[in-house]
């Protein structure tokens, strides 16, 4: 399951995957998935979500101050299902990215 999730995410982030030394990708995927496991994320779908966020925002994203909002969602005790927490974080990242992209387009049009 870990291998499949790692390969799937590598195919979405080919530049990142190619930029890493041999075995480095696997080492980072293993470390991230151990962390994900401790957060209650056990299925392949959640592993792909977690690895994608690590690839996108940086492997240390949960330790960084600029990503504190992500950690808050992933550790939000109001959501009792750990799988629901990663789904919520993933969807919030998608929402923010889509809003930022849409706003940039609107601003460009408005300034034209």
């Amino acid at each position: 399951m870990a291998r499949r999730a790692g390969e799937r995410v590598a195919s979405i982030y080919p530049d990142l995957w190619q930029s890493l030394a041999p075995d480095e990708w696997d080492r980072r995927v293993d470390a991230a998935l151990i962390d994900a496991f401790h957060r209650g994320l056990r299925c392949e779908a959640d592993a792909i979500r977690y690895l994608s966020l690590a690839a996108e925002y940086g492997w240390d994203f949960l330790d960084r101050a600029d990503c504190a909002w992500m950690r808050r969602i992933l550790e939000d005790a109001r959501i009792t299902d750990s799988s629901a927490r990663i789904r919520r974080l993933f969807e919030e990242c998608r929402r923010r990215a889509a809003v930022a992209a849409g706003n940039a387009r609107q601003r460009e049009e408005f300034l034209r």
Binding site: M1, I12, R42, E44, S52, A100, N103
Partner: protein
């Protein structure tokens, strides 16, 4: 990093996750066809009927087992894997007066049923709440009430706040250091049946942002196109909105109560101007800092020179305003001058 690229990559990851197994390999079991499972949905909306995200919703089975979730961007929470029956729904972070239940809706047959078993947990201790809130820059009654789970009126009319309410014209005129007392929260519940959706409405969401744009001669900038970008207190961007000021120069748009910053791009090229508003940071007009911010916004005072004290630039600004409106030229913040500033500034 381009937000378009980010959006696209996360979209690909979402498709990959949707296609991957969502059950741990060790737990893959064939569901018993005789054991039906159902769902309950809760939809949270504002009083403008738009969905409200990130509201905590709890489903309880007896006193010891709960499911907890937050509403998504569509305002929905769905609890799956429930045996048919009745469950208690609460919005645990909200006071009873902060929301109302709307008419229940039956889910479509394909949405009413679900599979798997809900993963029940023990109820957390919800704590006592803050008791009081000391106003910091960016706070106002609306943001504090929203953050603490109350309707604005519940907080403002709370007996312990009567002395503060007598000193301030409204809950939007609070000064840094003011203390709002927060009442004890009262819980409200709905008895929900599987197969239904329970819409609820938050009474004070959204807030409204009203800004009046005027020219140097204080004539309104009427029918000017604008682009409004709002950021919430947690840094979350909201979709930009476009519109035009009305005949009196007003921009009037709904915003979440925890909005922290509004950027307005106003007008057509080549005269477009960008304004940045830090919401809730205006001191009351009874304080020198509040008077000076109003004089700045009205174009009488330079942003660079404010001191929060009755200084010479402020005196000169008051003299200019008094001259423009045929008030006695004192350079002082006397009652007629104060009233004129509040009239022009609308607060």
């Amino acid at each position: 990093m381009s937000s378009d690229g980010l959006s696209g990559r996360l979209g690909q990851a979402a498709e990959a996750a949707a296609a991957a197994p969502a059950t741990p390999a060790s737990e893959v079991v064939q569901p018993c066809p005789l054991r039906e499972r159902w769902a309950i949905e809760v939809r949270v909306e504002g009083n403008d009927k738009r969905p409200v995200a990130a509201v905590a919703v709890r489903l309880a089975k007896g006193a010891q087992s709960i499911l907890g979730a937050l509403t998504g961007a569509d305002g929905l929470v769905r609890f799956d894997g429930l045996p048919a029956g009745s469950y208690t729904i609460t919005l645990p972070e909200l006071d009873a007066e902060a929301w109302r239940a709307l008419a229940v809706e039956a889910l479509a047959p394909d949405k009413a049923k679900s599979s798997g078993d809900a993963d029940w947990g023990a109820p957390p201790s919800d704590g006592e709440g803050p008791g009081s809130w000391t106003i910091a820059p960016g706070d106002c009654l609306a943001s504090v009430a929203f953050a603490t789970g109350f309707a604005k009126d519940t907080v403002w009319n709370y007996g312990a706040n009567s002395e503060l309410a007598s000193r301030r014209s409204s809950g939007y005129d609070l000064e840094q250091g003011d203390v709002l007392h927060i009442p004890k929260k009262r819980q409200k519940t709905i008895q929900g049946q599987t197969g239904n959706r329970y819409p609820v409405q938050l009474v004070d969401v959204p807030e409204r942002l009203k800004i009046r744009f005027v020219r140097v001669n204080l004539k309104p900038k009427e029918n000017e196109p604008y682009l409004l970008e709002v950021t919430a207190a947690d840094g979350s961007p909201l979709p930009a909105r476009q519109g035009s000021t009305d005949g009196a120069g007003f921009l009037d748009e709904p915003i979440p109560p925890n909005a922290a910053e509004a950027r307005v791009l106003l007008g057509r090229k080549p005269g477009q101007i960008e304004y940045l508003f830090r919401l809730g940071e205006m001191n009351p007009p009874t304080e020198w800092g509040g008077v000076q911010r109003r004089l700045i916004n009205l174009g009488y005072l330079d942003d660079e020179v404010t001191t929060g004290e009755p200084d010479e630039p402020t005196k000169q600004a008051l003299l200019r305003l008094q001259s423009d409106y045929d008030l006695q030229a004192t350079g002082e913040l006397d009652a007629p001058t104060k009233a004129k500033i509040q009239e022009l500034f609308l607060s």
